[in-house]
């Protein structure tokens, strides 16, 4: 691993400004007939060297959020309002040249399907060289040497530079993509379901490696997944997203022992335990809402076990008023009317 230090020097020491901060970010998918608000007023900050987990079900807007940070949203998706601050400066609406310097060098991304992220008819080495030369002035030879070092960093023999993607296993392909994401020493790596398509043993190997690399190189990670138990293991801080909003945000340790939002409680109650007694799982009744017509008030209220109508005043707020994310203790924030009742 010492070799890695030459290729990838430590990022600057922890600073006061977060690496990336989202301020009231709103992302819409606009079509002629309707607008779907996929991300609705999200604020989230990611500090230097921090692993932040973002959990939610399909369609909750978590991938859209990742794409917005990376600035790779394409029409019909658009950032309608809010800011994406990198190192304190807004990157929304920057020129193509600026964004080219921003992407991969400041913030890089690992997508769920490595097979789709890699070009099937190009050798792995050439893809590294291509990517590096698109963003930095390096010679082809130098780029290849660095590509080899990156491959070894993620645990792959450097001779694999000459392989085509189909000659690698799924886990190796995903490691190649992680190596590429680290190539230009970004301060934040967004990982969007990086291990979802992989077997559980391979998933564990890759997570272990990500943690080791992160500890050694100090980059920050935004880890997007639907698997909350995985985040509880790897993340420092976790944000739970539901229907375009963050409904709870807390350090992983406090989220595990003291989940406050009924949705978080429901998610945690949806995983059968591997040890201990088996109780009947509750899951969450109903299914996630259609974001082009979200429920009124608290978006979770149609599925919420606490929205019973017993307390008339509370019920009126649950169906009529959007709960705001509020601090409940320390750095634990929850958007639930019951917390302010």
């Amino acid at each position: 691993m010492t070799l890695a230090l030459d290729v990838l020097p430590h990022v600057p020491e922890a600073r006061a400004t977060p690496v990336v901060a989202l301020e009231n970010l709103v992302v819409d998918y606009v079509s002629r007939t309707r607008t779907t608000r996929a991300v609705d007023g999200v604020s989230l900050s990611i500090g230097a060297g921090e692993i932040v987990g973002l959990a939610g079900e399909s369609g909750c807007g978590k991938s859209t959020l990742g794409n917005a940070i990376m600035q790779v949203l394409r029409p019909p998706a658009q950032i309608s309002s809010g800011r994406v601050l990198f190192d304190g400066k807004d990157v929304v609406g920057r020129s193509r040249g600026d964004l080219r310097r921003y992407r991969w060098r400041n913030v890089s991304m690992v997508f769920q399907s490595a097979m789709n992220a890699l070009n099937p008819v190009m050798r792995v080495g050439d893809q590294f060289v291509d990517m590096m030369r698109a963003h930095e002035r390096v010679s082809k030879k130098e780029a290849l040497v660095r590509a080899g070092e990156l491959l070894e960093l993620v645990g792959i023999d450097r001779r694999r530079l000459r392989s085509y993607p189909h000659q690698l296993s799924g886990g190796m392909r995903q490691r190649v993509v992680i190596g590429m994401a680290l190539a230009l020493r970004p301060e934040l790596v967004i990982m969007d379901e990086p291990t979802t398509a992989l077997d559980v043993v391979v998933q564990r190997e890759i997570l272990q490696q990500v943690r080791e690399l992160q500890a050694e190189l100090g980059f920050a990670v935004l880890f997007i997944t639907h698997d909350l138990s995985l985040l509880l293991e790897i993340a420092n801080r976790i944000a739970i997203m539901y229907a375009g909003e963050i409904v709870e945000e807390a350090p992983a340790a406090s989220l595990r022992v003291d989940p406050r939002h009924p949705y978080t409680v429901g998610l945690l109650g949806s995983f059968p335990p591997l040890h201990g007694p088996i109780e009947r799982l509750t899951g969450i009744p109903g299914s996630p809402p259609d974001l082009s017509a979200p429920p009124s008030g608290c978006r979770f209220h149609p599925r919420c076990p606490h929205c019973t109508g017993e307390d008339v005043a509370l019920h009126a707020r649950q169906v009529g008023e959007r709960p705001l994310l509020r601090v409940v203790s320390g750095d634990h924030r929850v958007a639930c009317h019951r917390e302010t009742a």
């Binding site: 293991e233 799982l281 009744p285």
Partner: protein, 333 residues
Amino acid sequence: MTAPILEVRELSKQFRSGGVLHPSKLHAVDEVSFALTPGRITALAGESGSGKSTVARLILRLLESTDGEIVFDGRDVTRKRRRRDVLRYRSQVQMIFQDPFGSLNPAKTVRHHLARPLRIHGIAGRRDVRSRVEALLEVVGLVPPKKFADAYPHELSGGQRQRVAIARALAVNPKVVIADEPISMLDVSIRAGILNLMRDLKELGIAFLYVTHDLASARYVADDILVMYAGQIVEQGPVDDVLASPLHPYTRLLIASIPDGDRNLEPIEIRKGTAAAAVDPAPGCRFVDRCPLAIDVCRHETPQLVEAEPGRIARCHVTAPRQREDLHAHPAA
């Protein structure tokens, strides 16, 4: 204990691979034996490429086996070819697929999906179809049934679609249901509902084979578990015992790899070696290159399934050595 309804005996399936110049044989399923019993759920676990879905397809006769027998209700159905026989067998052994989006016809209502098998297999007369369909919807928790019967698949959520697929499998009163990763494409919050449904349905006396890579869900629904690696069963036994004290090193690795929300994860040892061990396998254990316990004999002698403890079977020279079986078999010797 009830007699098994379906028995698989030394079932094997080989695929040719490697092209003309370097022909090779992939032993996708290698001498797999097990039995399914009414009212019990048996989990079949393993990583992708381990052969677990091939086993499911062999049982359904969607693939022809290379060797071995499938015995259903006392009769060998492995080579039955007459349409009438195959049809009868298929009405007794039903499948629930992974993808509830791909397994329903988008142009047809839920009622159509459920009424069709009733008619094809002559289970309900013209007059009873309507009430049968509604009864089925109620069984799988789609209430009110009248509303769901006239819905189209696109109007349903993933979990609801999977319930329709389950209702369709149940329509023909099957004795055996094979569920191939029925929850892996569903949202986390609705998985529990499907797992609970399977637990409830088992009470109807159906024998379930639950094919999965998710050991925690296997522990939740299943009574017994079979763990496959590179085409072979490497461990089998009651699911609680196997997960609490796994015998085979591969089962141990699988369990150690599952995220369970515990921050102090013990690192697993990363070793090379893949399911490619099933291509033209040489004698020896197929897990040997990844095994932390490997000894000399593992490299040249294929371990056999050995009953290491009552009801606990494993294929490992180290944790389930053969001598013990000999003692077991000949206590007087």
